[in-house]
Amino acid sequence: MQVSLFTTCLTDSYYPQAALATVRLLQHLGCTVDCPTAQTCCGQPQFNNGLHDQARSLARHFIDTFQHAPAIVSPSASCTAMIRDYYEQLFADDAAYLPRARDIIAKTFEITEFITTVLQPDLAALNPRSTGRITYHYSCHSRGLNLSPDVTINLIKSIEGIDYVPLEKMDQCCGFGGTFAVKLPDVSAALVTDKVACIRATNADTVVVNDGGCTLNIAGACRRQRLPVRFVHVAQLLAEALGLMDHPGDMHP
């Protein structure tokens, strides 16, 4: 199956290993992957802050870039949800782009969603193996994709040899929320502090995530509070467990 990778800005600059793992994983599961280098940003920061004209201009560029892709897969639930939940609204009054936006919406997936609903591989047969005590933070925008926490949890549990430990309040927002983190700094700080405390209580050595924004926030707070945990994208965890990565990595090398 032919797949185009939607890297997302944050993954492109901060978490390239997560994108690389996504590519390797997709290839391992039988996909041919390309990564259009014309891609930029989906427009979410502008959209969420009410600058819908600017968001629309970025969305047009996105649609132009990916229009011929048979499927678009992204390592970020948040950016995927931006497209899936809001592109139709953005182009509601644009007769030329509305059908194109709908076409894009129908073929855009977050990686765990793509694996579990489209590819549906027999993961156990691929024999993924790893070690470690692993917990998982549910990224809020997975909700916008109707992805329950179980989707990623089941992927984690499919890996032989790891010890999964649930995170208390796993589905409580970490306080990132894009500009929310700097516009309401006290609330954001309280939320991320809460998240770090919950991670600490699990005694996990690894936190699995599926969004760069949450990771930037939670990992930064863990480091400030001297909590030594490794952050890995779920695709990275799987790719490593399948022996697809050159070396096991942290998202922050």
Binding site: D12, S13, P16, P45, L51
Partner: protein, 470 residues
């Protein structure tokens, strides 16, 4: 000042105060999550929950689309049963109507049920000013009234107060010896209220639903005081937001299933009152007079706006319990009668001044937990985003953010500029970093977190390398 706010949105200060209050933080971290757990379990009992939610939403949408005819039918039917109907344009008008009714019937002492709509119009203060002794009879609201406080949650109004605080309050205000045993505190409240009920000649009740086909008012409570308030005094005044009307008792049956489960996590409330007119000649109980005040107070404008969905709200409070922001700052910091997600989206429309709107719309991280829990699928995050759009179009938001985000959009519109900026970010931050992390920046970000340095290579560079491999 309209009556919606009881403190004038001093957000940063109110937020800091809330975050520094240990008891509040404990309560907000504990009870809303417990409640959500019970709600989720109670909803699981409904076969095909999603279908029930959609049906409920259809009933609410139908009601809003036919509000004029349903309200007229409600008024006709209620009047046929001997009730009186009054239409209130806004909070002032509603207060005036109700104090006039009290005056005409020589009422001296009013008892009232818990009702967010009476809070919205600040009715208790108005009645006191008009010379009526007015007593809250809901346990939570009574405590708040004795403490000169306000509700901080739609369903559990005194979530911010501990048993011990209530014990000390009752010791001081009701003259009992200190106890924090809930049964004894409730006993003390009952003893305090019994005399008020005996003397009351005006009962003020809230309305959860009004059924137009039968002219019935529905009031849900878990304490008997609501029923006593409606039945004992000779005059009963019901206040309802105009959006509360629904067509039929069959619709009510479906909505009750969802409302009660979503609000308190039980199948049904202890008291489900369906009030159809004043006492009939052969009935020993019930008021001689029943007046219904139907309140607009900005609702017509919302009905005609792109934000009509918000009027489908059942006021179950499930969104408050789910909201991470509410669970940190509590209800008072919103500075609005309606806190939490529904308050965030509704307050700027009920009280459309720029200051309120701007501050209110920031109180949302767009996490979507509210939508997940809303029994009628109100897409609050979308409605918040769209109000931010309106604010931006009116140039009401922060200029710094407006210009910054516009510049960002311009820069990221072409791959060339995008790649340049993404690379420049690392170069710009690198002098500030040690071992790949930055500890201090002139931004609130680094107050509680380090910022990692962007990776050495963008993914697009890795991608080119990866492809060049044999």
């Amino acid at each position: 000042m309209t009556a919606t706010s009881h403190n004038k949105h001093p957000f940063p200060k109110a937020i800091k105060t809330a975050l520094a209050n240990d008891y509040l933080q404990h309560a907000l971290d504990t009870y809303p999550r417990q409640r959500t757990g019970r709600v989720v379990n109670a909803l699981k009992e409904l076969p095909d929950l999603e279908h029930v939610r959609q049906q409920a939403r259809r009933i609410r949408d139908y009601s809003l689309a036919h509000l004029d005819t349903l309200l007229a039918q409600l008024a006709d039917n209620l009047e046929q049963h001997g009730g009186h109907v009054h239409w209130a344009r806004d909070a002032d008008h509603a207060r005036q109507l109700i104090t006039d009714i009290a005056g005409q019937h020589n009422c001296r002492l009013a008892v009232k049920t818990k009702s967010m709509t009476t809070e919205e119009i600040a009715l208790t203060d108005a009645l006191s000013r008009a010379g009526l002794e007015t007593y809250e009879t809901d346990m939570g609201e009574l405590i708040l009234q004795l403490d000169n406080d306000h509700p901080s949650h739609i369903i559990t109004p005194m979530i911010h107060k501990s048993r011990q605080q209530v014990g000390r309050l009752f010791q001081q205000k009701l003259g009992i010896s200190y106890t924090d045993d809930p049964a004894q505190l409730i006993g003390a409240a009952r003893a305090h209220l019994r005399d008020k009920f005996r003397r009351a000649d005006l009962g003020i009740i809230g309305v959860n639903f009004a059924v137009s086909q039968t002219g019935s008012l529905v009031m849900l409570t878990n304490e008997g005081n609501g029923r006593l308030t409606a039945a004992r005094p000779r005059v009963c005044v019901a206040l309802m937001g105009m959006e509360k009307v629904i067509p039929s008792l069959a619709d009510l049956a479906l909505l009750l299933k969802l409302t009660v489960r979503s609000a308190v996590g039980s199948r049904i409330t202890v008291y489900t009152n369906i009030i159809t007119g004043p006492a009939r000649p052969d009935e020993p109980d019930g008021p001689e007079q029943l007046h219904l005040v139907i309140l607009d107070n900005g609702r017509s404008n919302i009905l005609a706006s792109p934000y009509r969905d918000l009027l489908a709200c059942l006021r179950c409070g499930a969104c408050l319990n789910a909201c991470p922001v509410y669970r940190k700052i509590g209800g008072h910091a919103y500075g609005s009668v309606y806190p939490g997600p529904i308050g965030t989206a509704l307050t700027p429309l009920l009280e459309p001044d720029l200051h309120t709107t701007k501050n209110m719309l920031e109180l949302c991280s767009l996490c979507g937990a509210c939508l997940e829990r809303c029994p009628v699928n109100i897409d609050i995050p979308r409605l918040v985003i769209n109000q931010r759009r309106d604010l931006n179009n009116a140039r009401g938001n922060s200029r710094l953010y407006r210009c910054g985000l516009a510049a960002w959009a311009w820069a990221y519109r072409t791959p060339g500029r995008y790649t340049f900026c993404q690379r420049a970010l690392r170069l710009l931050l690198r002098p500030l970093a040690r071992k790949g992390w930055i500890r201090r920046l002139p931004s609130p970000w680094t107050a509680v977190r380090d910022l990692p340095l962007p990776a050495k290579k963008l993914f697009r560079d890795l991608w080119k390398q990866d492809r060049q491999k044999p």
